[in-house]
């Protein structure tokens, strides 16, 4: 009996991600959600610009590759064209929280019935380790070689906290993929974000704290520790908004 196999919603393409990178885990969680909800055949994924740009090769559903930061606008177009389709974006921190901030905030404000998977690893991975909008204060990167100085370049952007103030957003949760327990929680959140869309519950965004061993200059194991010790205290895990749960409680 097979007890653990590759999700059907992943193709057989070989992932290009660096050893120890957690994109692979997050891809798997998304694919498991598509499998469990049995929606791969009606789903359209929007890949963004960054390390996950080639996500279009890895998910078995129809895919569009969007310009840097524009995935929520492209998703809006796809969803408005065919509202019966399930539409998700898969975006990194530079894409979603820097160049695409307007598209992120306004797709939430409109309450677009889409699902956003936001991978936050506090660095620009694909271009080789530059400071991200989510890089931590003091974090050393290629473009903050003396550490992120908040006096001159400002503070990190906390997307879940920010979007929790937007009335149009339905479900916002921050998760991490640094441990089995957190991965299981991430799975539940991603599944719920897709189920929300199937049920027409509007805008869901899951922020996934992720590692970048290559550009952080750490081993995969040390990278998990760094995430736990540095990112989680700054970006606390948890549900930031759940409109339907709040209404059910009233």
């Amino acid at each position: 009996m097979v007890v653990f196999e590759k999700p059907k919603a992943l193709t057989d393409a070989v992932l290009h991600y660096c050893p120890g990178c957690t994109h692979g885990i997050i891809h798997r969680l998304v694919a498991e959600a598509l499998d469990e909800l049995k929606i791969t055949g009606e789903t359209i994924g929007i890949a963004s610009v960054g390390c996950s740009v080639m996500a279009y090769n890895y998910f078995a559903c129809d895919m569009v590759q969007a310009a840097h930061g524009r995935a929520p606008a492209v998703a809006t177009g796809v969803k408005r064209a065919n509202p019966e389709n399930i539409v998700f974006t898969y975006q990194g921190d530079g894409d979603l929280a820097a160049i695409g901030t307007a598209e992120t905030v306004h797709s939430a404000a409109r309450g677009e019935n889409i699902t956003i998977i936001f991978v936050n690893n506090a660095i620009y991975g694909m271009t080789g380790g530059q400071m991200a909008p989510t890089s931590l204060p003091g974090q050393i990167t290629q473009t903050s070689p003396y550490g992120r100085n908040v006096e001159t370049v400002g503070y990190p952007v906390k997307i879940c906290e920010m979007l929790s103030q937007v009335d149009g957003a339905s479900y916002l949760e921050r998760v991490a993929v640094d441990s089995v327990r957190n991965i299981n929680n991430a799975k539940k959140a991603i599944l719920k974000a897709f189920r929300n869309q199937v049920e027409g519950k509007g805008f869901s965004l899951i922020e996934v704290l992720s590692t970048c061993p290559t550009n952080w200059g750490l081993s995969p194991e040390k990278a998990q520790e760094w995430l736990r010790e540095n990112m989680i205290p700054y970006y606390p895990l948890g549900v930031y908004k759940d409109k339907y749960a709040e209404e059910a409680d009233k």
Partner: protein, 362 residues
């Protein structure tokens, strides 16, 4: 002959888009094209369509990409500064081989410029719509009727060639009212097997369906990207061979040839009447497609006339294409105003006389 109605250019264009089967308008307000958005905001809900006011021109063109990727006809409209913002999306549309319909009701520039009519986005529309190797089909209406007919045609060409069709109008075309017929005939429907509509697998059993469609412009292998660009330009060649549109006016006996599009073509026709009363044989070639440009027509005209005058609302942009098309075998003069100013017929007549004097004998 269908009944004519009196309509403003921008509103007539919007109604024509609806008649062409467009049910998705994504836009952002900017003068002098805002009537298109306002008209769509009223009309789309009446016919089950989607009107969406985006957070920016950038978001609007990317929503067009989404709708088009999903296989539906989509449009956005803007004016010069807004079209600059859309250039990223226009490049992606080309790289993804997606059809789209985009309207630029031009105003004076550069920068925030002004809000009066201009044709100074000619280069941007025909030569530099965005980064990379690509073209758009550029249509230049010179009447409210053509705002309608070229919109209908533009949607068809976009689907036919999987390209962006751009209406390059000036503020005059958008703002003026004329009687128009809205009878455009039947829509041609094109199969879109490439569209992302879901692979079609059913929930029970949990099947995935057909292999996935990917809409993408990233090609990291240089030879592959080169091959795609060559294939795209082979398609452009077909467009150049089959889709050139122009009007010839009083060219049979002309010694001087004016070249003008949009509102300056109308000014030119008035100037031709005055000049001919004064004994100068002058005609007009009006490109209706600015890309593909009517190169062969101008090359042939160069064998017959003594000089050309490019009449434009810019510092001289189309004139470069006139010089290229005619191989400079005749003098090409520029009659221009810019910044939102429109020349008078008398100013054009003065330039015709200048051309008549320096044009020499045939």
């Amino acid at each position: 002959m269908a009944e004519k109605v009196l309509m403003k250019g921008n509103e007539a264009l919007a109604e024509a888009a609806i008649m062409a089967g467009c049910r998705h308008y994504l836009g952002y307000p900017i003068t002098p094209q805002t009537e298109v958005a306002a008209y769509m905001a009223k009309r789309m809900p009446q016919i089950g369509g989607v009107f969406l006011q985006a957070e920016s021109e950038i978001a609007a063109i990317n929503m067009v990409i989404g709708v088009s990727a999903a296989g539906k006809r989509a449009m956005t409209s803007s004016s010069s500064p807004g079209v600059s913002l859309k250039s990223e999306g226009l490049s992606y549309l080309a790289g993804c081989d997606l059809p789209a319909f985009v309207v630029n009701v031009q105003r004076g520039g550069p920068g925030l410029g002004g809000i009066q009519p201009s044709q100074s986005d000619y280069f941007m529309a025909t030569h530099a719509g965005g980064h990379g190797d690509f073209h758009m089909i550029v249509l230049a209406p010179a009447s409210v009727q053509e705002m309608v007919s070229l919109t209908f045609k533009g949607f068809d060409l976009a689907d036919k060639y999987r390209m962006t069709s751009m209406i390059l109008a000036d503020g005059t075309m958008g703002q003026m009212m004329e009687p128009v017929s809205l009878d455009m005939g039947e829509i041609t429907h094109y199969d879109k097997p490439w569209a992302v509509t879901g692979t079609g697998g059913s929930r029970e059993p949990n099947s995935i369906g057909r292999p996935h469609n990917i809409i993408n412009s990233l090609l990291l292998q240089p030879e592959e990207l080169e091959r795609f660009n060559f294939e795209r330009y082979a398609r452009y060649k077909v467009v150049e061979e089959n889709e050139v549109m122009y009007e010839e006016y009083m060219m049979e006996d002309a010694d001087i040839c004016l070249v003008a599009f949009g509102v300056t073509a109308r000014v030119s026709k008035n100037a031709i009447k005055i000049a001919r009363e004064q004994g100068i044989k002058v005609g007009l070639i009006r490109p209706i497609t600015l890309w593909p440009f009517p190169k062969a027509v101008l090359r042939n005209a160069a064998e017959k006339v003594r000089a050309f005058v490019s009449v434009e609302l810019s510092m001289g942009q189309m004139i470069e294409d006139v010089e290229l098309a005619t191989r400079c075998i005749r003098p090409v003069l520029l009659c221009n105003r810019t910044g939102g100013v429109i020349m008078t017929p008398e100013e054009v007549v003065a330039k015709i006389k200048e051309a008549d004097e320096i044009g020499g004998s045939k």
